[in-house]
């Protein structure tokens, strides 16, 4: 369904070598290595507790918020090791994150999306207005909220709040977007709207999509990786996962739903 990218001669947007993640002494993910390129959606599938969320947390250094969390190995984002980014805030700003449950900040819809531009120092009303409109449009929410931008973000429905969260992430002007099981609290119609939006966003940035719906990975992801109980099993073209063209039999079993 999704054509795989020509990737041989491109430099990767995100390059991961021998990444292992720990909480204290407990290792929850080991030896992950793969490259992710610009303009692709990279899917990560795997059952609960496989370490998918922990993996995303490392990428924008969310591990610093969890006292016991640390990692080994190398993560290079945009040509620079994430440990060498002098300015952690700049790293986080260039990576947008969307959680499983939407977090509408306790302010108006407009302010939710204008917050990040404001923090970057943008003051002009006209400029803010156009950023807000553009981000809400790209998150497929504009038409539903354009007449009530001053309403509290938390009063929106779950599916709308999740799109608001995506719009807020886009307002950071990220180079990479991390989505963690975004459709868990979202109805199927809205899920489709968001999926369509993601297909358009692919042209502008790199997207990592963690999902426990294997069909969602099939619909969206160019390539997919499979995590299983803290182990990185394999990665490859998504279509290969579904045609059975995989190295590990466990991958085939999981994709075909014969697991657990």
């Amino acid at each position: 369904m999704v054509e795989s990218n020509e990737k041989s001669d491109k430099t990767p947007k995100l390059s991961i070598k021998d990444l292992s993640i720990f909480y204290g002494k407990e290792k929850v993910l080991s030896n992950v290595s793969f490259d992710i390129f610009e303009n692709e959606i990279f899917g990560i599938i795997g059952p609960a507790n496989s370490g998918k969320t922990s993996f995303l947390r490392i990428l924008n250094r969310m591990d610093t918020f969890v006292p016991e969390m640390r990692f080994e190995g190398e993560v290079v984002f945009d040509g620079k090791n994430i440990m060498e980014w002098r300015n952690l805030y700049a790293l986080r700003r260039s990576i947008g994150v969307v959680f499983p449950l939407p977090v509408g900040l306790p302010m108006s819809i407009y302010e939710n999306v204008a917050l990040s531009p404001r923090l970057r120092g943008i003051r002009s009303k006209g400029e803010l207005d156009s950023i807000v409109e553009r981000c809400l449009r790209r998150a497929a929410l504009w038409d539903e909220v354009k007449d009530r931008l001053n309403v509290l973000g938390s009063l929106l429905s779950g599916g709308q709040q999740q799109r608001l969260t995506i719009a807020r992430a886009l307002s950071q002007e990220p180079k990479m977007l991390l989505l963690d099981e975004f459709s868990i609290a979202v109805d199927p119609v809205t899920t489709m709207k968001i999926e369509d939006a993601l297909k358009d966003l692919r042209n502008e940035m790199t997207i990592i999509l963690v999902t426990n719906l294997v069909q969602q990975a099939r619909r969206l992801a160019n390539r997919t990786a499979f995590f299983l109980m803290g182990e990185f099993i394999e990665e490859g073209n998504t279509e290969d996962f579904f045609t059975g063209n995989v190295q590990d039999p466990r991958t085939r079993q999981y994709v075909q739903g014969r697991f657990g």
Binding site: N60, P106, Q172
Partner: protein
């Protein structure tokens, strides 16, 4: 099928008994408060008049009004608020938003808990040593207010920290993930949502100090001083000390006078409490999540 069985009836009876005994405890608890208020209003009420509130005490404090003490108490509370709120709120922000869970933080938290348990007379001695003598404020409103401020710091910190902690952690994380610094997050998301709780909690706690006697007795409150203070470096009368003086230290005081003073003192505290509670109700209506 849906008829009550023996055991249903028994459980119901036990439930009623328990509910009744809790109600009894509550009534027992409220009774002394109501009796105190009733006695104060009955005996002190007739004392309250424009003259009583706004004139100086006369005849060796056996007659006249309480104006200097009233002004003194209000100044003491206001200066104490000004002194304790910035320090307490800053400390609470540090502890809630910045501090890592390490031995230093634990020691600080332990110190706060213990500070809250120090008897007020000990605070008074500290105030004499620190503010009156060491910082050379002399016995003054400033020294007395600072002593009150130190005494209320722990509750100010705890009230503030609770309001900050009531703001969901997910909001902070969402904000950090956008590249906001700690301070930007506090300033844009945490404080706007905690400020109502902080203000009401702080006003409530600090207004209680209006009734304190020991900490101000040696640091700035005057036995008898029928003038208004001109600056914070002056001594001043205070309602709490005045009440103590007219009820135990001066002979031939008419019986209703102390009741009148006590009623005004309680009135001030209740007034501050009601303002704070009203404020809280008003802001709760505007809560954003």
């Amino acid at each position: 099928m849906f008829e009550a069985t023996e055991i249903n009836i028994r459980n119901k009876r036990i439930g009623k008994g328990i509910k009744f005994s809790f109600l009894l405890m509550t009534v027992l608890l409220a009774t002394p408060v109501l009796i105190i208020l009733a006695v104060l209003i009955q005996k002190g009420g007739p004392m309250i008049s424009w003259d009583f509130l706004f004139s100086d005490p006369t005849n060796g404090m056996t007659a006249g009004g309480i104006f200097p003490a009233l002004i003194g108490t209000i100044s003491l509370v206001i200066v104490a608020l000004i002194a304790s709120v910035p320090v307490g709120v800053a400390a609470a922000i540090y502890l809630s938003e910045y501090a890592k869970d390490n031995w230093l933080t634990r020691i600080i938290n332990l110190a706060i808990i213990n500070l809250a348990g120090v008897p007020s007379i000990v605070h008074a001695l500290f105030g004499v040593g620190a503010f009156v003598l060491f910082f050379k404020f002399g016995t003054s409103i400033l020294a007395a207010s600072f002593t009150l401020a130190v005494m209320t710091l722990p509750v100010v910190i705890v009230a503030t920290r609770e309001s900050l902690q009531a703001v969901p952690y997910a909001f902070r994380e969402a904000c950090w993930n956008m590249g906001a610094t700690r301070w930007q997050t506090i300033y844009k998301v945490v404080l706007p949502n905690a400020i109502s709780g902080i203000l009401t909690g702080v006003i409530l706690e600090v207004s209680r100090t209006a009734g304190e006697t020991a900490p101000i007795m040696f640091t700035g409150a005057a036995f008898f001083l029928p003038f208004l203070p001109q600056s914070v470096f002056d001594q001043s009368m205070a309602l709490s000390l005045h009440l103590f003086v007219v009820s135990t230290q001066v002979p031939n005081v008419p019986e209703e006078l102390p009741y009148g003073v006590a009623l005004v003192l309680i009135g001030i505290v209740l007034l501050m409490n009601s303002i704070s509670i009203a404020f809280r109700f008003y802001l709760r209506g505007k809560k954003k999540w």
